[in-house]
């Protein structure tokens, strides 16, 4: 091989793409699912399906506030999440190191609703941002992978610069497998180039303090369960409803997202969905008499830059249609990266076929490409099959996710090291087909009372997506069988 620019970029694209891609497929798939984290959480709480839609009352807010103060007096670092169009219930939340979890309250009167303990869709958010490895090392790995993605994209563009226009149009799915995978990788890569660069860049900027801790004030993320100094305060406390009305006068009606409780103060934060720039604007009130003591707004210009990056990346301000567009782009982006992994393996199979290194690479690629969707479906199945009253239920649910993923990895290893790579892909595609196509049936059987009413709601959306991915996997495994 000659030492020319194209070959150097080819090496960079292939190796950074493969090694980084193993992490990026997980991060991208997790992020794609996390776009609908709230909806997935609701799907995983079927007890709430029968709850009639109702606006939050002042009585409910005051009742919820009293419960939060009581918990804080016991030393728990909790806050109150207000109802929204995506999640029409009150939630008393705390951060458990991976997700915001806590009891659900009725928005009509603030009484506790019976619902199962779950991390819901936030598992995917945690997987996306830190691979479930915490805010230090996990963030650092995904940050490095994000930089790697930008490097891979730039080197890929240099390799294919002359043919970018033709790559956009040329897709031959029925050509030889290598050609078809390359076409799919190129078409998806070129079509989604702006989206992928934007997501990689904004994601990397959000966690930039991890990579450049010496610039700025450091990373905002912190471990769970660290109580505020002097957090324990004693009442009486002013009711929250009048404070909410004042906060809405400041930020606009329906634009308050959550309420934080400090030492002698209550802060009403603007909702993430209220504006393009995701800032933490808030109005502070005295906890004892409800008097407005201050309003903090992030000004225009540079201070809003971070919020704009977050807004672009998290798309919380977006309409459902825009979020679906992100979702489709995320799915296609994940497939593009998975196609890149397959292309790398196909290229190296010719020379290194049968070696330990290649079998390991085949195993890892299969475990992230098909093992992760399988584990995600297993997580949804586990959510409905585990008893609702199980102790440490959220941990058990998460355990199901990682157990299924581990089984997929072991299966991939046994098959790939045994030389049966194609059957390994077919087996896992079959498993996805079974779990995906079966999920709507499981939902219908395990959601008492409301399962037979067909509405365009979160249940239908999750069931339809699972069915769609199941059918896609079914088609994929048939293609693998035919190609033998």
């Amino acid at each position: 091989m000659r030492d020319i620019l194209r070959n150097r970029m080819g090496w960079l694209h292939a190796w950074v793409g493969f090694v980084g891609g193993l992490v990026l497929v997980v991060a991208f798939t997790g992020g794609t699912l996390a776009l609908f984290d709230t909806e997935i959480t609701r799907w995983m709480e079927p007890e709430l399906a029968a709850l009639p839609e109702a606006a939050m009352t002042g009585e409910a807010l005051d009742h919820a506030g009293a419960q939060v103060w009581a918990l804080r007096e016991k030393g728990q670092n909790v806050f109150l999440n207000l109802p929204s169009a995506r999640d029409p219930v009150l939630r008393i939340l705390h951060y458990d190191g991976h997700a915001f979890v806590g009891p659900v309250l009725d928005p009509r009167d603030g009484t506790a609703l019976h619902s199962r303990e779950t991390r819901g869709g936030q598992l995917f958010f945690d997987l996306h941002q830190s691979l479930y490895r915490g805010p230090v090392w996990g963030n650092l790995v995904t940050e490095a992978a994000g930089i790697g993605l930008i490097v891979a994209v730039m080197s890929g563009v240099i390799i294919h610069f002359r043919n970018l226009a033709s790559d956009l149009l040329l897709f031959r799915p029925f050509a030889a497998p290598g050609r078809a995978w390359l076409d799919a990788h190129l078409v998806a890569g070129v079509l989604l180039l702006p989206f992928i660069v934007m997501m990689a860049y904004t994601g990397a900027v959000i966690h930039a303090p991890r990579l450049f801790p010496m610039i700025g004030a450091g990373h905002a993320a912190r471990p769970a369960g660290r109580p505020d100094a002097g957090m324990r305060v004693v009442g009486p406390y002013a009711p929250l409803a009048p404070m909410l009305a004042q906060a809405e006068d400041v930020f606009g009606r329906g634009r308050i997202g959550f309420v934080m409780f400090g030492t002698g103060t209550v802060s009403f934060y603007r909702a993430d969905a209220a504006d393009f720039a995701m800032t933490r604007d808030h109005a502070d009130f005295s906890a004892s008499d409800g008097r407005l003591v201050g309003v903090e707004r992030i000004g225009h210009g540079m201070p809003r830059l971070g919020g704009a990056m977050r807004g672009l990346h998290f798309i919380r301000w977006g309409t459902p249609a825009l979020r679906w567009l992100y979702f489709v782009c995320g799915v296609v982006g994940s497939m593009m990266m998975a196609a890149g992994l397959v292309l790398f393996l196909m290229k190296h199979r010719r020379v290194h076929g049968g070696t330990f290194r290649l079998a390991l690479a085949e195993t890892l690629a299969l475990a992230v490409t098909l093992g992760l969707p399988l584990a995600s479906l297993g997580y949804l199945w586990g959510s409905r099959l585990l008893p609702p009253e199980l102790m440490h239920r959220a941990d058990r649910e998460t355990g199901v996710f990682f157990l299924v993923w581990l089984v997929a990895l072991v299966h991939a290893g046994m098959r790939c090291f045994g030389g049966a790579v194609r059957p390994a892909w077919r087996d896992q595609a079959c498993a996805i087909a079974v779990l995906g196509c079966g999920l709507p049936i499981l939902d219908a059987m395990s959601r008492a009372g409301t399962a037979l009413r067909l509405h365009a709601d979160v249940y239908l959306a999750v069931d339809a997506c699972a069915l769609g991915f199941g059918l896609l996997a079914l088609w994929g495994q048939r293609v693998i069988v035919r190609a033998r």
């Binding site: 490097v151 900027v205 930039a208």
Partner: protein
């Protein structure tokens, strides 16, 4: 693939990443100092944009023993592409 070339490229990649990180950090630390407190988010945004550019640029340089001619060699394909 030629084993020697592969190792050389791997070594260059590792060196490029380390060099790019140190250069980016140094550049922006210097810029922050001179500009009298640039916004941290802005500096980090620029650093994140510059870092991959420098990595790709360094990896794009031709092999050893080329001296300053590497920059000419690097410019030629880009001129050709444009």
């Amino acid at each position: 693939m030629n084993g020697g070339l592969w190792k050389r490229w791997l070594g260059r990649f590792g060196g490029s990443v380390a060099c790019a990180y140190v250069c980016t950090l140094g550049l922006f630390s210097l810029a922050s100092g001179h500009a009298g407190g640039l916004d941290a988010t802005l500096v980090q945004s620029l650093a994140i944009a510059v870092l991959p550019l420098v990595i790709v640029g360094l990896c794009a340089l031709p092999g050893r023993r080329s001296g300053p001619s590497v920059f000419v060699a690097l410019a030629v394909p880009f001129l050709h592409l444009s």
